[in-house]
């Protein structure tokens, strides 16, 4: 299997504290992967590096078949290259309708001039409708995103990610604060998405990770501690010591 994203030997430190320490990681083009680890293991920093928010001190991040380095690109260029990110807290544009939120995320020319003269086509509206159907918000399109429930906002954000048609989805704690039924829906969404693209889920909740039923990477103190199926890593003595056993 070819790799879509390859992170090799990356380190980054903040004021002397090594948040990421010689981390190497790779993921294929259609794969679901969960990243777990205790607080401060470097999960969010890892995402920051991949999406261009944080520059690593050393190491390289290579992307796609052409193995382009992501380190020379800024956030918006990385996003346009096909990496979508969902934050822990649902961040949708609360003052705008669900429709506007999704329309903004649709994969289209992002240049200001093109956007200024952009007028939505029937095709775009149909695509937004499809996405809304997929995330279960089809009847909420004209509502302001700020009026949605917490779970609905999370889905809207996942919908916005899907609208971007990224090749890699980075999802930070999607199940936080969700009810059981909402979690199941979220799991389905992520599994469905992973059929056609790479999805990396950062999660604390073991039960949720189990339901995802995928390969798991355990981070600890900024580097990979173990990798494999959930059952495999939970039997690893080191993992038990640092994370599960506590």
């Amino acid at each position: 299997m070819s790799t879509l994203l390859e992170v090799s030997g990356v380190s980054v430190s903040f004021d002397g504290f090594k948040a990421i320490n010689n981390l190497s990681f790779e993921i294929g083009p259609a794969e679901l992967r969960a990243i777990i680890g205790p607080n401060g293991a470097g999960k969010t920093t890892f995402m920051d590096i991949v999406t261009g928010k944080t520059r690593p001190d050393e190491g390289d991040v290579l992307w796609g078949e052409m193995s382009r380095s992501l380190l020379k690109m800024n956030e918006s260029q990385i996003a346009q290259a096909g990496i979508g990110r969902k934050f822990q807290r649902p961040t949708v544009f609360e003052d705008q309708s669900v429709f506007e939120n999704l329309l903004m995320a649709l994969r289209k020319d992002r240049a200001p001039w093109k956007v200024l003269f952009y007028r939505e086509t029937a095709e775009d509206r149909a695509r937004v409708g499809e996405l809304a159907e997929e995330i279960g918000l089809a009847d909420q399109l004209p509502r302001k995103a700020g009026e949605l429930s917490h779970g609905q906002k999370q889905w809207l954000e996942i919908g916005m990610l899907l609208a971007q048609e990224p090749r890699l989805l980075l999802v930070d704690e999607p199940a936080a604060g969700m009810t059981l039924a909402e979690r199941e829906h979220t799991t389905d969404l992520l599994k469905q998405a992973a059929k056609t693209r790479a999805v990396i889920v950062v999660e604390h909740d073991m039960e949720f990770v189990r339901r995802l039923d995928c390969r798991v990477t355990v981070l600890h103190e900024g580097s990979v501690l173990a990798e494999g199926s959930l059952d495999f890593v939970t039997k690893n003595q080191q993992v038990i010591d640092v994370y599960l056993g506590r």
Binding site: T51, K53, N74, E75, S76, Q77, A79, Q80, G84, R85, F87, T91, F93, E94, D95, Q96, E100, L103, M104, A105, R110, A111, P112, W113, V115, L116, Y118, R119, E120, A122, R125, P142, R143, K144, A145, G146, E147, S149, H150, M160, Q164
Partner: protein, 410 residues
Amino acid sequence: MRQSFIAKNPSVLIFLACLGLFTLVVSVLSEGMGIGLISTSFVKTLGKTLCLCLVAIAMDLAWGYAGILSLGHFAFFGLGGYMIGMWLMYARTEGIVAASLANAEIPPTPDELRSAIATQIFGVVGSSDFPAIWVFAHSLPLQLALVVLVPGLLALIFGWLAFRSRVTGVYLSILTQAMTLALALYLFQNDSGLRGNNGLSGLQNIPGAEAVPQSVISVWFLWGSAAALGLGYVIAAFVVSGKFGSVIRGIRDDEARVRFLGYSVEGYKLFVFTLTAVIAGIAGALYYPQAGIINPKEIAPIASIYLAVWVAIGGRGRLYGAVIGAALVSLLSTWFTGGRVPDLPLGFYTVSWVDWWQVLLGLSFVLVTLFAPKGIGGLFDLLTGRRAPDRHGADLGPGPGALREKEAEQ
């Protein structure tokens, strides 16, 4: 579901109708064109107010929509005024000098003529040569181009430097204010080439229209200002109505999220900043021929702060709010500071409004910010039922459900 631009923005038609009606009524009541109920100076005040409304729209676009609290838009406004002022002053002085030299026995050479004009204009700052920046002053089309180009280029360069470094929020405001202050201080110098603190004057005299009385010219400028305001409103409404509006409001609310959606936030900010600077420049170019004089004091940072206050009081994030705020506050300000408001005797102290107006204005700014963040424009929400989402987390109950249905129909 697809609607035309006007159908989506009913406020545009209403605004244009109000503006047209206002212009018509003022023209009919004016001294120059109508029955003379409104004095020429008041027509000029109204015309100037329209220009202030236009720059307020620019400010609202930058601050209310894109979240760029610029304290430099009056600098762009002033620059627009200076650019048109240069031509007005040059052309008028040329006419006067040519007339006085016409009686000389030997007709003046072009060089002599030019030097005489320079002495006439720059004698006040002890110079008799044209500074390099006056090279285009003889040409109206070129100076008109500079009205757009100078503020636009300054905003482009300044914005590029500031946004590229990801300067945001209050730091950006301070930076824009520093730019404004630096520009004002530079213009105060006699060798800045724009007559130092004397500024440019006599701008109300339009070259080529010497025979037309001011009462008529004032109405012409009222029309010009109204047309510019109407056009500016339509352009601004177009910019904020579609996806572009979505993106810049997104930038205002959560810049990082927009960046991760793949939009180059810096490019959008730069576009909005430059566009609004150009609009401000055009507004200034219409304002100062009505004011008659421009000097560096007009560019001082306090003017830009007033602009922010107008927009805040009128209501950020809606174009008509900015217009209402600018019109109301600047007209009230003219009224209060004009000394025509009777003093308020309190027995132990007499409130003289000329001095106390600013206190009143400051107080109302604080009150609006605290208790009515939507400003005067928020009153229209009571009429139309537009509401910001105030619910976080919970589903709508059966009560507010009726409202939701109404929204869905729209």
